[in-house]
């Protein structure tokens, strides 16, 4: 493909590289693009990626592994969209995803990305673990297979396979059971939601996954989905409708909020701690949901909710989006976004860093260890805090 054939050929040159995209909402630093914060070279800023993409597509520079890595360090966190003041800001992330798609098309992605995509194609998850083992996380729990219950509880790849995230998935299952919610899971029948595949630019594989999931959900008569992961929630809410996925999607914090307000979930047992909440990008900036998790936390007696300076639309990404929780292009440094984020959390004085995303959980828990903060800061999912408050922990 040449620049002329590129979907955003009439737009990509409009990036001036003014640098707004690096700032958080409150302008406090230039470190809110996770890739730029990690490497601090202009190439890793959103503007740098756009200029490089244009240069590559117009043959000013050649493809290199380094170029591919620069593009794939983008976590699709949308901080750039939040801050860019220009009228094309809604498409700046799309321009990068389209460049990734061209690399996919030409077979020029970094090896870690290739492995990630191949694993999903073959096994339905990025880890390369057998599909048959996807439901093992439910063993020993009372969680039922989906058989027409009110909600399909969709767990996603990380919740299904990552040991720490499996704990969260089971905990949420107990909370839902305690609340009397009628739900079931797909277990080994569940497939990847494809959200990361989409942001990595593998359009064909994403379409296949989305069509497969929509078909399966229809066959089972699913009308309501509650997702553990904001990534799954995003794909199902915003992308699946174009594949005729007409069910209603919820992130689990939205359901817990409604259960608490409707007095179907008793959290009076409380949870005594100072808690700071980390907004996941695919719940916050992608879907504008900032209040549901906070409403849940505020409703729990004993929780003292303190905000990090970067919060809501200004929150710093944990660095795990765009497949980076697996490819780890942003790891290995004290400037890694997850480590920066746990330092920000620690600075609030909170003893608990609450998350609402299994990707954030794994990224931030590792970062707490890397920063040596295990004795002062515990990473807990909102579902785990709720479970403690309602006696199902």
């Amino acid at each position: 493909m040449t620049l002329a054939d590129y979907k955003y050929a009439d737009m990509i040159h409009r990036c001036f590289r003014c640098g707004y995209c690096k700032f958080p909402v409150n302008w406090m630093d230039v470190n809110s693009c996770p890739a730029y914060a990690r490497f601090r070279m202009e190439t890793y800023s959103c503007g740098g990626r756009l200029w490089l993409t244009r240069a590559w597509l117009s043959d000013e520079i050649e493809w290199t592994e380094h170029l591919a890595q620069i593009l794939y360090t983008c976590t699709a966190c949308k901080n750039c969209e939040e801050k860019c003041p220009l009228s094309f800001n809604v498409d700046i992330l799309n321009m990068i995803v389209a460049a990734k798609a061209e690399m996919v098309e030409r077979g020029l992605v970094p090896s870690a990305v290739k492995e990630f995509l191949e694993n999903i194609e073959r096994h339905g998850n990025p880890y390369g673990t057998a599909r048959a083992r996807r439901g093992e996380w439910t063993e020993g729990s009372e969680i039922e297979q989906y058989q027409g219950q009110e909600f399909l509880y969709y767990v996603g790849c990380v919740g299904s396979y990552d040991t720490r995230a499996q704990e969260t998935a089971r905990t949420l299952g107990r909370v839902l059971t305690r609340s009397g919610v009628s739900f079931g899971v797909l277990g080994s029948e569940e497939n990847c939601d494809g959200n990361e595949v989409n942001t990595l630019g593998e359009e064909a594989l994403f379409e296949m996954l989305a069509e497969d999931n929509v078909r399966k959900f229809k066959e089972l008569g699913v009308t309501r989905v509650v997702a553990l992961s904001p990534h799954s929630y995003n794909a199902m809410k915003n992308e699946y409708p174009r594949f005729d996925g007409t069910f209603t999607s919820f992130h689990y914090t939205q359901l817990l909020r409604d259960l608490i307000i409707g007095e179907k979930l008793d959290v009076s047992g409380g949870f005594s701690a100072s808690v700071t909440y980390h907004d996941p990008c695919f719940l916050g900036r992608w879907n504008g949901e900032y209040e549901a998790p906070r409403r849940v936390l505020r409703s729990i007696p004993g929780v003292e909710l303190v905000e990090m300076e970067k919060n809501r639309a200004g929150a710093l990404c944990c660095g795990g989006g765009g497949g980076n929780f697996y490819t780890d292009f942003l790891g290995g440094s004290e400037s890694s976004p997850a480590r920066t984020r746990v330092r920000e959390a620690s600075a609030t004085g909170a003893s608990v860093l609450a998350v609402a995303c299994p990707n954030c959980m794994t990224m931030l828990e590792d970062a707490v260890k890397a920063e040596g903060l295990e004795d002062s800061l515990a990473v807990k999912d909102v579902a785990e805090i709720v479970a403690a408050a309602c006696g199902t922990a």
Binding site: D29, E42, T43
Partner: protein, 453 residues
């Protein structure tokens, strides 16, 4: 193996040095019309000590060093014209001190305008600094180094007039402090000696500023701006003179532009005010809009368009997308205020000759002592012909500045040559001596202010 690369890696770590084509491509560009030139290395140091080592290395190897802040001068001042090391200073981003009582801030060279504005708003809400109209990624140090000016220019002058002290890595590698910080823990004044002017306006050819102390000013509870409009450009110098006499405004900007068409040819005065109470605001508004401008309204020579409370800080600019082309550049100049009408008329002619919608702006510096007058030319980055037209218009504007008796603010290479051609020979010779004394190997940002060796 490249021994310079190895040495740089030893100094700053492998993640902060690059010879990869992607970094060399990006750091070859200015955001304006200047032709790109590739550096040989892109380096992002974190400390003054690292910069010191890099400069010593560059002297040994006779390699150019080109310091870069926000990269927003638009005049090509950080383009590595002769290759060498592109030194991205933005990792040095610590706000070291804010002295509330003495009203100053000491910052590292990579601290951005937006970062300081946000910091003061959150931690010292009664203080503000003079913030330029550039995007907030522009750095404090970069801005003072090019004699920038901001939204407190009318009462307090250029941002470079607000410098209390500097820490500089000299071209030969020594670290020097200038101002009170050279003899005291306080960075409260640039006095007594030597002069910080050795490093301001030289586009990084005399050293690398690593720390700067700048003055802060009272930030009042209410910020806002009134708009006054006239049709006759000849009235602007008179209006500026009268408004500045009241000493009530904290920023005063006159502008005219072709877009939107209904206001083309009109001249707007944005008069910014601040106050701690309604009483103070009423008093200031009465002095300016009733007592000073009232007679122009009554005569039908001007109109008051209203006063808007609240002021966006940092300012957000969309100028680059005027032509949906991602590019613009301007010639900035320091002009006598009385030249506003001619600056406007001649600038408009240049724009129309090059088929570019005109945009001119004059920000008043001090009590009408000068104005920073700019002619802005938008271009489409994807259309080389519009880039060429803009470049020609810029050069014509550079010529115009000198013809009208002004000086070019932060001139690019073309403008630098024009200035040096007209410069008093003894002054030029002094510049040459200063450069030779400070930078005997000619490593600092070569190609800029080339006075001959």
């Amino acid at each position: 193996m490249d021994s310079i690369y190895d040495s740089l890696v030893e100094i700053v770590g492998s993640e902060h040095v690059s010879t990869q084509p992607e970094e060399l491509y990006i750091y070859s560009f200015d955001l304006g019309t200047t032709e790109p030139h590739r550096p040989d290395y892109a380096v992002a140091p974190r400390t003054t000590g690292e910069i010191q080592q890099i400069v010593r290395l560059a002297n040994r190897e006779k390699v150019p060093v080109v310091p870069l802040g926000g990269g927003l001068s638009l005049a090509g001042l950080a383009v590595p014209l002769k290759g060498g090391i592109a030194l991205d200073l933005k990792r040095m981003d610590t706000i070291i001190e804010v002295n509330e009582r003495a009203r100053y801030a000491v910052v590292e060279c990579g601290v951005s305008q937006g970062q300081l504005t946000s910091y003061l708003e959150r931690r010292h809400p009664r203080l503000m600094h003079s913030e330029p109209g550039a995007p907030p990624q522009a750095t404090i140090a970069g801005n003072v180094a090019i004699h920038g000016q901001g939204d407190l220019a009318q009462p307090y002058g250029f941002n470079s007039d607000m410098v209390n002290g500097l820490e500089v890595v000299l071209p030969t590698g020594e670290v020097c402090r200038f101002g009170s910080c050279s003899i005291s823990p306080y960075w409260y004044t640039q006095h007594p000696l030597p002069d910080v002017g050795l490093f301001l306006g030289w586009a990084g050819t005399t050293g690398i500023i690593t720390r700067v102390s700048i003055k802060l000013f009272p930030c009042k509870e209410i910020l806002g701006a009134g708009q006054f409009v006239v049709e006759d450009e000849e009235l602007i110098p008179e209006l500026v003179h009268r408004i500045t006499h009241t000493e009530m405004a904290h920023d005063l900007v006159a502008f005219s532009q072709a877009i939107p068409p209904f206001s083309s040819g009109l001249h707007h005065l944005t008069i910014s005010l601040s106050a701690d109470s309604e009483k103070e605001l009423d008093f200031k508004m009465e002095l300016i809009f009733d007592d000073t401008l009232g007679e122009y309204i009554r005569r039908g020579d001007g109109g008051f368009l209203g006063f808007t409370r609240g002021q966006q800080r940092p300012q957000v600019s969309k100028t680059s997308d005027w032509r949906k082309g991602g590019g613009f550049e301007y010639v900035g100049s320091i002009m006598p205020v009385e030249t506003y009408p001619e600056c406007y008329r001649r600038g408009r002619e240049i724009s129309e000759r090059h088929d570019i919608p005109y945009t001119v702006l004059g920000r008043v510096i001090g009590m009408s002592h000068a104005m920073m007058f700019s002619w802005t030319y938008a271009f489409n980055r994807a259309d080389p012909e519009t880039v060429r037209q803009a470049r020609e218009a810029l050069h014509e504007s550079d010529d115009l500045v000198l013809e009208l008796g002004g000086t070019i603010w932060k001139p690019g290479v073309y403008g630098q040559k024009l200035v040096m051609e007209r410069m008093d020979p003894n002054t030029l010779n002094l510049m040459k001596k200063v450069k030779q004394l400070l930078d005997p190997n000619g490593i600092m940002n070569p190609g800029n202010w080339e006075v001959g060796r």
